[in-house]
Symmetry: C3
Subunit: 109 residues, 3 copies
């Protein structure tokens, strides 16, 4: 039996809520993500051109599969306003099997 496509929990930051929504909705429409959770705004602290910055930002959490990650990543880069957005996929260790199957089904075809 072929191993099931691993489910990933993907952390993506966006400039604001509108961008997070636009990206999240496109990815679900195009079946690159099964669902997108748009979190309320957060503050990002980071070094940019030698200076420590503290900027408001938004985050979205995507559920997808390993086989969908590369096209998902490429689509986010194409849609995103940042030169270098945070796109980090964490591996699902386990989960509710029905939910995992739903993620796989939503991102196939």
């Amino acid at each position: 039996m072929e191993a099931a496509d691993p489910v990933l929990w993907v952390w993506v930051t966006a400039a604001d809520a509108e961008e997070a929504r636009r990206i999240g909705r496109t990815l679900v429409e195009e079946r690159l993500a099964a669902c997108a959770n748009l979190l309320p705004g957060h503050v990002a602290i980071y070094r940019w051109e030698g200076e420590i910055r503290e900027d408001p930002e938004s985050a979205l959490i995507l559920k997808t599969t390993a086989s969908r990650f590369e096209p998902l990543r490429a689509r986010i880069r194409a849609l995103h306003s940042y030169d270098l957005p945070a796109i980090l996929a964490l591996p699902g260790a386990t989960g509710d099997e029905e939910f995992l199957a739903w993620v796989r089904q939503q991102t196939s075809g």
Copy 2:
């Protein structure tokens, strides 16, 4: 020496803050989770019956162990208002050993 029970970081969505609190509190009371973090509301984008939906939702983050996951999962399904809630467990790669020991101790017995 027996390998330590892996600690999991579990992402669960709920219909609203009240449901997230009810589920989170029950899981901690029943030692199925060491702690539950109830996040402020988010917006979920997903396809349901062919239509893209955007609905308000809540999320809770649970810290538990691999050996507790199955009873945790079953209890969430029993308590939850959704037919198919998101329940996805991410593996702790490493952490503060005292904190990991606290999670194991809180979810045993």
Copy 3:
């Protein structure tokens, strides 16, 4: 070719937004984390001295590397007001290679 230093997504809780910001900023300044995302407040449910508690808390999400985790962990414990803060590192399965390289570059030197 030497394997790249794995990137970690680290979940840390703090007493409040001010503590989250102070810790997050220090870690980025000292290159122990590439960036810190300060989330809006959440509610923590946990058992402490036999009682179930529900307390307001803050969370920060750190992006760092495996080789930086131990000094990051030790620095958080030194800065933190809790006796036992939640510090749990989740492994990056994959991500945008430019972003992963940026995390490694920001936390080296």
